[in-house]
Each structure stands twice: as C-alpha cells, then as structure tokens.
C-alpha cells in the first residue's frame, strides 16, 4: 500500500512537522518513506506545504501530484490542493480557518474545529498533533502506538512537561478520525 499525502497551512502551524512525524513513524514500521517540503523565502504567516509518502514499496517520485490524503489547516490550502485529491481520497480540514470548506462530493471529508479543540486541550501548538491523530484514525496507515512511541521519544529529551498534552491531542484526533 502507498499513501501519498500533502499537508498544508500557514507557516508556523506546524504542517511540516505533521509530515515529518508521519514519515518517522512509517520508517519505524519498516515502510519506505519520503518527506519533501516546499522551501523558499517563506516565513511565519506565509504558506507552507509538505509532500509525504509512506509505502510498502520503494518510492519512485517523492513529488505528490494527486494526494490520497490532504490535510488543510487553512482555506488557501483547500483552494490550492483539494481539486487534485484522488477520487475517493481523503480531505482533513480545520473548520476554524476554512470558512468555505470544500465542495467536492467524490472524496471523503473529515473536518473539525482544530483550533478550538487544541486550545481546549491546552495550546494552539498541539493542533498539528491533533491532525496527526486524525490521519491515523482515518487511514490507519501507521499504528497509533508507533506514533505514541515516536512522540514520547522525541519530547522526553526536549520538553517532557509537554508530552502529555501532545499525546492527548493525538488521542483526540484518532477518535475524530475513527468517527
């Protein structure tokens, strides 16, 4: 199985990190992974996106033209990338910052007020962890436990006090994704 994903949003929302942890966890499960960020004169408040591929086979192109999954944290990301989602693919978006949503009816859509939920959990900073949870809950492309292990290992050396909040956000996301 191959999952080609694009995550997009404003710079500073942590979209690159979503892709990075998905790739990291995929690698831990022995899958082939690639992580290709948009880069350029971009800064906080600008737009950022990352193509991530997780596959059981060797990955040919790391460039994703027709994503199986699009994670959009703001409206410009939907406007730019949603038209190219493969029919039957998945759109995950943040209703707080996507007032117009998406009109397509040939894809599966999971939406949630991600900013509100993140704030409720404790900080807007965990919105990307929430999104990671939704991806896992919806696609099961990697195991929830693998991600818990990854985040735990990553946070314990840096911000152990923030670990619980991050794990909580992922759990909430998984619940939303499973519906």
């Amino acid at each position: 199985m191959t999952m080609e994903m694009i995550c997009a949003g404003f710079g500073g929302q942590g979209v690159l990190t979503i892709g990075r942890f998905m790739a990291q966890a995929g690698m831990k499960e022995g899958k082939s992974v690639s992580w290709l960020p948009s880069y350029g004169p971009e800064m906080r408040g600008g737009t950022a996106n990352v193509s991530t591929v997780v596959s059981d086979e060797e990955i040919a192109s790391p460039i994703v033209s027709f994503p199986d999954v699009l994670v959009a944290l703001n409206q410009p990301s939907i406007d730019k990338f949603a038209p190219s989602i493969r029919p039957g693919g998945i759109l995950i978006y943040n209703t707080n910052m996507c007032p117009n949503g998406c009109k397509r009816d040939d894809i599966q859509i999971v939406s949630a007020p991600m900013v509100d939920i993140a704030l409720e959990i404790g900080s807007q900073m965990v919105m990307n962890m929430l999104a990671i949870g939704v991806i896992i809950g919806k696609t099961e492309v990697i195991k929830h436990q693998t991600m818990i292990d990854e985040i735990t290992e990553y946070m314990k050396g840096r911000n152990p006090e923030l670990l619980e909040m991050n794990l909580k956000a992922i759990q909430r996301g998984v619940d939303i994704g499973r519906g």
């Binding site: 960020p37 033209s65 027709f66």
Partner: protein, 361 residues
C-alpha cells in the same frame, strides 16, 4: 546500524565525516545551507576543521591547500557558488589534487532561484573551469545514494588524484528519506589513508634535508613539459572512462518500445510514470546514469532493444545530458527531449502524458 530520517544535505555531511573528511571549507548558500550548518556543528566534535570562508573563491583555494597535504577535504555550494569555484576546480584538476565538491543545484542562470534544477550538467561534465580537464562526477537520486557517494567520491578522488563532484539538487538536499550510514572510519584508518599520498603531497620533513621536497603546481611554462602533463592527464581520464562508468537499469527488457534516459531527481519522477504505464501493460525501460562523467554510453547503446522506436530524455533543464544520449544512440533511433526549467520539477502525470503521446505515434 538502524535507519535515520534525514535531509540529503545533512546525510552527505555526516557521511563525509564518516569517510574521513576532517577539513571542510565553504560559504553558505541556499539550498545547501543545512550541509554547511551540519559541518559547523559536527566538525569540532571529531577534532576536524570547519571554516566558513569569506567567499567561494577563498573556500576552493583552501581546499587546494588542504588537498595538497594529502588530507580528505570537501567543499560544497549551490550553482552560482560553484561558478565562483570554477577557477579553483581547474587548478585542482591541473595539480591533480584529490578532493570532493558537492553541488546542490538550483535554478539558473545567474542568481536564478533557489528551487531544484539540473542546469549545471554541462558545467560539471564538460568543464566549468578553463583548460583540458575532467571532473569525475556522481549524480545521486535518493538521500541514501547521496550519502553513499561520500565515501565513493573520496575513494575515487584518492585513487585517481582527481577532484570529484557530487551533482545533487535542491530537492535531494531538502528532502528527508531514511538513510543508513556505513561505520565511521577510525582516526588510525584516516591517518593511514593520508599515507597513500606521501610520495607527492606536502608533509612534515622530519629528517631536515630536502628529500621530501614536493612541488604542487598547475603552472608549466615550458610547452613541451605542459604537453606531456596534459597527455598524462588524458591517459588518466581514459583509464577512468574505462573503469568508472556506472548506471542503473530500470525495467529494461527486449519488449521495451521506449527507452527513457534520466538522471538524479528527474529519474525518480520518470520511474513513477514508468510504473504507472507498466501497470497498463506498456513496456518502457530506463537507463539512469549514476556517474555522469565518465558517461555510460555503452549501457545506453546496449539498452536499445529490437522494439525500441524512441529514446526519450527527461531533464530539469533545456537539454544538456541530451547531447551525451545522442552520442550513445548514434542516430539509430530518434531521440526526443522534454524538460522543465526555472526550478520547477515535472510531475509523474506530466511525464506519463509525454510517454503516452509517443505510444500513439
């Protein structure tokens, strides 16, 4: 050792250190800045020297000095910075100094932009600097291969006393993929590597006389002496051409109707298109030159099977490697080209469409 998820820029830096590189001189430029940043962090930890030079010209001449001492030394840059190093490359080749230069290509000409491109193929394989010389030139297509090429490049540089360029691009530099490193050379092993050069390099003169006097120079004012020097270089290059052609074959078979040729990042995208067309029952193969100098002419000629009606070259430039493919094909079948420029990378869908047009013809 287990796999680590790493950017290409960081992976090549780590692999270079593991291969015994203890001297690195460079000047920052996007999209290779993570490479110089990694070296700045890690070189002090292995008692190596990291030096951010005041310019690319200065950095490449520091490489000249260090290589003249028989040490494994590296510099890196991106396209415009490599142009600034061009004079130094010619001097290094002329003085037969082993070293590694990494070019993480971006869009050009001029300052261009900072997105991935393959516009420096001519510069890397046909010259760049003045004079009659060759650079051994390796072109990776994945982060793993980028990392593996560090030790290969240093070994080739040492073996032939020649500068070696690794020709990557912004995508390989910025992308993260799992990478597995070879074990790091020990200080003793690195010391031993240096000893292979003591018959020509500058090294401490312990017994006080001039027995070890070695001159490292690219100036030969006597035409007869220079003539012989260039003839000797030419013999060396012929030996490299004989021994060091490398390529990857992808889906090559006698059924192939189209033969694609692509290198580096571009080849990854072409592979995706081939996979899709293969699933639809079409037969297309690809040759990916891994070393772009020396060029695998014979491999391409051999891959033109009985049913191949078209050779298709895809590059992120306006057609540079295309010339080498035409030399290899010798007019036996038509050679088509399609490329994207300006730092824009083509998509698998675009390549697939181009190939489908060929099948319809």
């Amino acid at each position: 050792m287990s796999k680590i998820l790493m950017k290409g820029n960081e992976a090549i830096a780590e692999a270079a250190i593991r291969s015994g590189c203890r001297l690195y001189f460079a000047y920052p430029i996007t999209p290779q800045s993570e490479l110089i940043e990694y070296m700045a962090r890690m070189m002090p930890k292995v008692n190596g020297t990291f030096l951010q030079a005041e310019s690319e010209v200065s950095a490449i001449n520091m490489v000249y000095g260090a290589a003249g001492c028989g040490k494994r030394v590296m510099t890196s840059s991106s396209s415009p910075g490599i142009s600034l190093k061009a004079e130094g490359l010619s001097y290094l080749a002329g003085a037969q100094l082993p070293c590694v230069i990494v070019n993480v290509q971006r869009g050009g000409p001029g300052l261009g932009d900072i997105q991935p491109a393959q516009g420096d193929y001519f510069q890397a394989t046909k010259g760049g600097g003045h004079g009659d010389y060759r650079l051994i030139c390796l072109a990776p297509s994945s982060v793993q291969e980028f990392a593996d090429m560090a030790s290969e490049a240093f070994d080739l540089a040492d073996k032939y006393r020649n500068p070696v360029m690794i020709l990557a691009d912004g995508m390989l530099g910025q992308m993260m993929e799992p990478v597995e490193f070879k074990p790091a050379l020990t200080d003793e092993e690195i010391e031993e590597l240096g000893e292979q050069h003591t018959d020509w390099c500058i090294h401490p003169n312990q017994d006080g006389d001039l027995k070890h006097h070695h001159e490292i120079n690219s100036l030969e004012i006597d035409p007869l002496v220079l003539e012989q020097h260039v003839i000797n270089l030419y013999k060396k290059y012929a030996e490299i051409e004989e021994n060091e052609q490398r390529h990857e074959e992808y889906n090559i078979s006698d059924d192939n109707e189209i033969l694609c040729v692509a290198w580096g990042t571009a080849s990854r995208v072409v592979k995706s298109a081939i996979n899709e067309l293969k699933a639809e029952g079409k037969s297309i193969g690809m040759i990916r030159p891994i070393n772009v100098w020396p060029y695998p002419y014979e491999a391409i000629a051999k891959a033109i099977g009985p049913n191949v009606k078209q050779v298709y070259v895809f590059e992120l430039n306006t057609g540079q490697m295309l010339d080498d493919v035409k030399i290899a094909v010798e007019g036996k079948v038509p050679v088509k080209f399609w490329g994207k420029v300006g730092g824009i990378v083509f998509t698998p869908a675009e390549i697939k469409e181009k190939l489908e047009e060929c099948f319809k013809e």
